[in-house]
Symmetry: C2
Subunit: 432 residues, 2 copies
Amino acid sequence: MGTLASAGNRRHFDINPAYFRVMARIVQKFGGTSVGTIERIQAVAKRVKAEFDAGNEVAVVVSAMSGVTNQLVDYATKISPLHDAREYDVIVASGEQVTSGLVAMALQALGVPARSWLGWQIPFKTDAVHGKARIQDIEVDELLRRMAAREVPVVAGFQGVAEDNRITTLGRGGSDTSAVALAAALNADRCDIFTDVDGVYTCDPRIVAKARKLDKITHEEMLELASQGAKVLQTRSVAMAMSHGVRVQVLSSFVDAPGTLVVNEDEIVEKEVVSGIAYSRDEAKITFVGVQDRPGVAAAIFGPLSDASVNVDMIVQNVSEDGKTTGLTFTVGKADLERTVSVLNERQKDLGFARLVPDSNVVKVSVIGVGMRSHAGVAQRMFQTLAGKGINIQVISTSEIKISVLIAEEYTELALRALHTAYGLDQDEARI
Amino acid sequence: MGTLASAGNRRHFDINPAYFRVMARIVQKFGGTSVGTIERIQAVAKRVKAEFDAGNEVAVVVSAMSGVTNQLVDYATKISPLHDAREYDVIVASGEQVTSGLVAMALQALGVPARSWLGWQIPFKTDAVHGKARIQDIEVDELLRRMAAREVPVVAGFQGVAEDNRITTLGRGGSDTSAVALAAALNADRCDIFTDVDGVYTCDPRIVAKARKLDKITHEEMLELASQGAKVLQTRSVAMAMSHGVRVQVLSSFVDAPGTLVVNEDEIVEKEVVSGIAYSRDEAKITFVGVQDRPGVAAAIFGPLSDASVNVDMIVQNVSEDGKTTGLTFTVGKADLERTVSVLNERQKDLGFARLVPDSNVVKVSVIGVGMRSHAGVAQRMFQTLAGKGINIQVISTSEIKISVLIAEEYTELALRALHTAYGLDQDEARI
């Protein structure tokens, strides 16, 4: 197949630039399980050394050792459930601090010049929204100078520093974002995200045995996959990679094999119509029965939810049959269901509905692919496939490169496997 | 007794300055066991709040939660026994960072305005001797401004920042030194060191049941006690308190009672002849037999030991009987014994001795008191008391306010109890 062959040829160039040019600049990010023990930290150092010895400039970004952040969050929560986010950041940022020192030491022990860099030392500047700060600027001149002089910076991920010199953190999974932002600032050739899976799959391999690992995927597709439930990369880090054109590779820190490259669309010559199928069980559906059909009713409903910081995802409004009342269905995150129902019931009189029907036994299934833009019939195939299995579609939403449907949760596996086959994604041999 | 009554009257002034003036400035330092659990951290916050509510300006210095530093050191050592001290500091300093955030949170939860301060934020400037850095300067203007505005700074102990913006640590027990240095810089009225004992005793109460807790002791005496084996305060912190005239109180973080005040000599009107008796089992004795008696032999012996970073403590050279050979005995730390013997045996030919006799079954017992300066007979009483119990004195050394003797270790308890009684230190009722 042309696409794969082409991707295959390019792959050697992508994965090991040292074959084709003297030097590449690479950011390597290692997550919590990858640095979870001293032995794993030493294995990480060997991986970094391999890139370094190939002549590349390497910067490393690390998470806290697995379990550490949870322990620290637990301390903070025990002291005070409503704690000062600035102190929370001081506490939890210590996890990445420890790992950065240990990884730098492990590199030195292998003869690789290395030093740790904390957010405030770089500085890795963010706004002052503690606990979920946004990156503003990374001063990389000194890092670049040292990388050129064959030193490996080991950067504590997840953390930054605000203008008032206090430590900030980027929120859960923020180390991916740190790594991509650093790669953008360093103008790196690639940002390798080492994790406990070996790449991005066409579907969750735990459910679809015939799922294939993708050699490449576009930023846009990855963004949709991540935001529609695939857990491999944080949505925010993908959005940042997309907006800065950072080439990201997702690969396993335990298996020495190429992973999946997340790249700009122009790097992929022939696009798949559908690249992957995502699902999310983190959805809940709410249906209004007997809503008075008058202008502004949607605003009246969703205004209070917005005020209560509830994110509404899919919305479908039924055409009213009698012209007086209408049906309205929408979805929210499962964690927000109770709050949503309570906010709306408080306003039952104002909103003028007969009753609310909440339902958390639903799953959102999404098919995603940039090729969808130029191919008709993608949605139709989805609807037909699900209908063929007797699966009722409750809500539909679409974007330019994605079709999502809400179905009963019990059909999750059946739907995913049927769609995977229907879109020609199955690999020849089932994975064991 | 005049002395005690006088000290007792002053004590109310010392311990609770709020009785006598509107406001005092106090540094409170809490060690690892005092902040070892979330519950203890909350108890610490209550203690701080009590001083704060009394109208005082309070700054807090904290150690890492007990066990944390050992775990971090263990990580570093496992990665590489000969690790980069700069990375070691990044790793171990994280322990105090966590505690400072947690204690600040706990104070806020009690309604006390508080914030954490890390070494680099203050900044708490040190030299660049990582792992045992020396304090150079502490910029306290901002802390003073905030304390005046009724905010409690919670300072991470043990850590500083070098000129190149890298984290340094002050060495084991460095949090005491941090606290005293901060108290000096803040011109604090008192530095309270909360620990797991309730004060300084005339002797180790685990051995001498009649040991008394001292209300006051001079800096000089405390320095001798600490350096002669009493573990209650780090020698270095006492030396700093002495040179800056910082009034230090040692007290229990678990019992709400006054501790022992360590003060300048002029605060104590009538000095005890002997204030306390210390002992150290961390000594080893080496005796040279048949040393050729010629000028320069001592220099020839101790030069190589100095080069090997071995600290020699007590030295005694015997008068030679035949005018040709002499005996020489000295002590080193037990941990250095093996290295000392090996260094010296390598040079047996140069040094011209017959053989070396190492002995680690010794203990150094010291009686200490500033009153010794103006009282004769203190040494004589020591020698008589030990002789009366049949205890042979192997080596003697003295300073202005201290007499130390080396005896066989098996006599430790007997010697301490006999001397405690002989110098009139016993309290009337034995402690249970």
